[in-house]
Structures are given as structure tokens and as C-alpha cells.
């Protein structure tokens, strides 16, 4: 199983470039893609990004898993654009969407979460005089990322419990137990953070 937006260990140039440069590069690439006005320009961008994936030695399966979740959006936007603005526009819109997501995926796949957080913390440092604690913000971001798989588990468990009891689907029958469980996990995690010295 591959999860979107997770570090894929490696030692390529892309893995070793400091996270700050990668984020800057990503910003630049996204602006460039959005500024493109001809399909051939997007074609070049697509080649460059594909080259990036090859350079980082990301397996095809992992790369594919990053874009696969976009399939319905692409289909919807594509059909919409073909009907209302014509095929060239459809290619441009869907193409830039795919390429921007691929660029973001390439950065996350080659950058550890903590490196990314370090950059955020450095960027937030000037806000310290307004009472922002960059360390705290970094911790909250890390915890958020960590909690995504936990929440997925909770929703899966609740949904299985519902099926096992044979009750029909309803948002209410899911949301109640899921929220209760999520709060219980949050409580336990709070204890664990204290035990691990976060309040120091």
C-alpha cells in the first residue's frame, strides 16, 4: 500500500537538496506551469517532471499512486472543459493540474517530514515577536500528518462495526462513534506527549 505524500527513502540528488530549495523550486515550477499557454510548453514541463521522478528513482507504482486519486477530478474537469471550451483548453487545464500535483508529490516523496517542518519553523521565526512559537507550530503540523492514518483506521473500524451489526449507512451512525473514538485517541496521545516531555 502506498500513501500519498510520504517520504520515499533514497539517496538521489533530489533527496539531498535542502528542503528549502525544493520548496522554492516547487513554487517556481507551479508558477511556470500556470503561466504556460501552449500545450507544447506543458509537454516540456511534463518531461522535466518525469525526469525528476526518474532521477529520484521513484518506482513507477509509487509515482502512479500519487496521481491515481485524481482520476475523477481529471475526468470531470476534462469533460467539462471539452464541452465548454474545447479540447485544447481541456488538455491545458488537466495537464497543468496533473503536473502541479506531480511536482508537489515529487517534493514530498524526496523530503522527510521533519526537514519540511524545519523549513516551516525557519520561515515562521520572524513571527516570534507576535507570540507565535515556531516549535509548537511544527509539532502541531507533524501531529496532524501523523493523525491522518489514525483517523483512516478509526473510520474503517467504525464502518466495519456498523456493517457487522447490519445497520444501514447514515452519516449519523458513523460520525458519532468516530468522533468518540477520535477524542479517546486524542486524549491518550495528549498523555503520551506529556510522558515524552513535550511540556518541557
Amino acid at each position: 500500500m502506498t500513501v500519498i505524500g510520504l517520504y520515499h527513502a533514497g539517496s538521489s540528488v533530489l533527496h539531498r537538496v535542502p528542503a528549502g530549495w525544493k520548496l522554492l523550486g516547487m513554487l517556481f515550477a507551479i508558477v511556470a506551469v500556470l503561466a504556460a499557454s501552449r500545450p507544447w510548453q506543458l509537454g516540456v514541463a511534463a518531461l522535466v517532471v518525469t525526469g525528476g521522478f526518474a532521477l529520484a528513482r521513484i518506482p513507477l507504482r509509487v509515482a502512479w499512486a500519487q496521481l491515481w486519486p485524481l482520476r475523477w477530478v481529471i475526468l470531470f474537469v476534462g469533460v467539462f472543459q471539452v464541452i465548454f471550451s474545447g479540447p485544447e483548453r481541456a488538455v491545458m487545464v488537466c495537464g497543468s493540474l496533473l503536473i502541479t500535483v506531480a511536482v508537489a508529490a515529487l517534493v514530498t516523496l524526496t523530503t522527510r517530514v521533519t526537514e519540511m517542518l524545519d523549513v516551516c519553523q525557519r520561515l515562521l521565526r520572524p513571527l516570534r515577536r507576535f507570540g507565535v512559537d515556531p516549535d509548537r507550530v511544527g509539532l502541531v503540523l507533524a501531529l496532524t500528518i501523523r493523525c491522518i492514518p489514525l483517523l483512516v483506521d478509526i473510520v474503517r473500524e467504525v464502518s466495519e462495526a456498523r456493517k457487522a451489526r447490519g445497520t444501514g449507512f447514515s452519516l449519523r451512525s458513523m460520525a458519532g462513534p468516530a468522533v468518540v473514538r477520535a477524542l479517546r485517541v486524542a486524549d491518550a496521545m495528549g498523555d503520551a506527549l506529556i510522558a515524552r516531555g513535550v511540556d518541557d
Binding site: 522527510r112 507533524a142 483506521d153 510522558a195 516531555g197
Partner: protein, 226 residues
């Protein structure tokens, strides 16, 4: 070994009395705590690092009051929870272990070095960059213990660390805890894993009903259940 001292400890949650007349000094190397569900084991364990403050009485570790000196106490007392998922706070294995050292004053390369050593000791080095949520239950508990040990605590308190594991992983985690040079306070339902312990305390409805070498304490406990 550290000296963990409960003095006249009473504890209530609302109207419910959870611990009563607790007077104990724990200074053995390996200490087990057993008792039925709801007998107060977790409450007692959590008092050792100040997560629960007694309603009355006091708990000290090497003379440090766990309520007044919580931070200092927690630096000496590492805690391992039942569900490692709640204790792992970082997205990948190495990052989670390194997280424990973020306030240690060590430099990044030093932290990376220490992290590598600890992961090797726990056979987790191949998984250093793996997402933590994809580890097996046994590996997650190993990671949780590694992340606690890396800070060099004097005491490890573990609250049913093997309850969610299959028997093989339970044995592995338990052997690890029992074989550590650090002092260990282990809450468990796996009685057969306590053979090598120095002392076993049996709780029933918030009271100590037996306390001694594993054989006699475990016997007292099984008689209690009969």
C-alpha cells in the same frame, strides 16, 4: 535503582474510590503489578510519572514529588503505554525516535547518530524511514520502547505493553523489558511472564492484597480469581 515511594495514597474519580491506603516503596530492579480489570493498576502506574495526581497522599521518585516536580520526574521515568499507536507522534520511525531528543541540546548529527544506534539495537534500522503506521504491532511497541530508552531514563513504567500483541511478540517485548539494565515497573496480565521478576504487587479493588516474590504473589492472585 530509583526509589519509588507511595505514601498514604488515596485516589478517587468522582465518587468512585480507585486506590486506597497505598503505602509502598518500590526499589527492586523488576517489579510486576497485576490485578483484575478496574483494580487500579493503570492509575497506580500513571502516578509514578505524574500523569495522575493522587487525591491525597504523595508519590515520590528518588525523593522528587511527582505532582510538584512533574517535569524532573518524567525525565527519570519513561512510560510505555498499551497502545503504541497513541505514543508514536512522528510520521516515520527514525523521526519518532529523534523526537525524544529534540530538547536534549544535542546537535542534529549527534541526534541522527544516537537514533541510528538505538534503531540498530532494536532491529528497526531497516525501517528507519518507514511510515510508522505501517509497522506491525510488535514493531510499533519496540519503537515506542526505543523512543523512551533513548533519553536514558532510570525507570521504565509499562502499562500492559503486551496486551494488544500476539503471544510471540508479547514474549519478545516482555523479554526485552525484563532484560534491561533500567529499573522496570510492568503492569501485565501475562502472569507467566513475571517469573524472572524480583517483586510482584497484586491489586484488588484499589488495595494491595499480596506483595512479594513472583511465586507467592501470583499464587495469591490466582486464588483470588478462583
Amino acid at each position: 535503582m530509583a526509589e519509588i515511594r507511595f505514601t498514604a495514597v488515596h485516589h478517587r474519580f468522582g465518587d468512585r474510590v480507585v486506590l486506597e491506603d497505598l503505602d509502598l516503596t518500590l526499589s527492586e530492579h523488576r517489579i510486576g503489578i497485576v490485578g483484575a480489570n478496574g483494580s487500579g493498576k493503570s492509575t497506580m502506574a500513571r502516578m509514578i510519572n505524574g500523569l495522575v495526581r493522587p487525591t491525597s497522599g504523595s508519590v515520590t521518585v528518588d525523593g522528587l514529588d511527582t505532582t510538584a516536580k512533574g517535569r524532573e520526574v518524567r525525565r527519570r521515568v519513561g512510560f510505555v503505554f498499551t497502545d503504541p499507536d497513541n505514543q508514536i507522534v512522528m510520521p516515520t520511525v527514525a523521526e519518532d525516535v529523534a523526537f525524544s531528543l529534540r530538547r536534549s541540546g544535542l546537535t542534529k548529527p549527534e541526534i541522527a547518530q544516537r537514533t541510528r544506534e538505538v534503531l540498530r539495537r532494536f532491529d528497526l534500522d531497516e525501517h528507519a524511514d518507514h511510515p510508522t503506521h505501517l509497522l506491525s504491532g510488535g514493531q510499533k511497541q519496540l519503537l515506542a520502547i526505543a523512543a523512551v530508552l533513548i533519553t536514558g531514563p532510570d525507570v521504565i513504567v509499562a502499562d500492559e505493553p503486551t496486551t494488544l500483541l500476539d503471544l510471540r511478540n508479547a514474549r519478545m517485548v516482555n523479554d526485552l523489558l525484563a532484560g534491561m539494565p533500567e529499573q522496570v515497573v510492568l503492569v501485565t496480565h501475562h502472569l507467566h511472564l513475571l517469573e524472572r521478576f524480583d517483586r510482584v504487587v497484586v491489586l484488588d479493588s484499589g488495595r494491595v492484597v499480596a506483595d512479594g516474590v513472583p511465586d507467592s504473589a501470583v499464587n495469591a492472585y490466582t486464588r483470588l480469581l478462583a
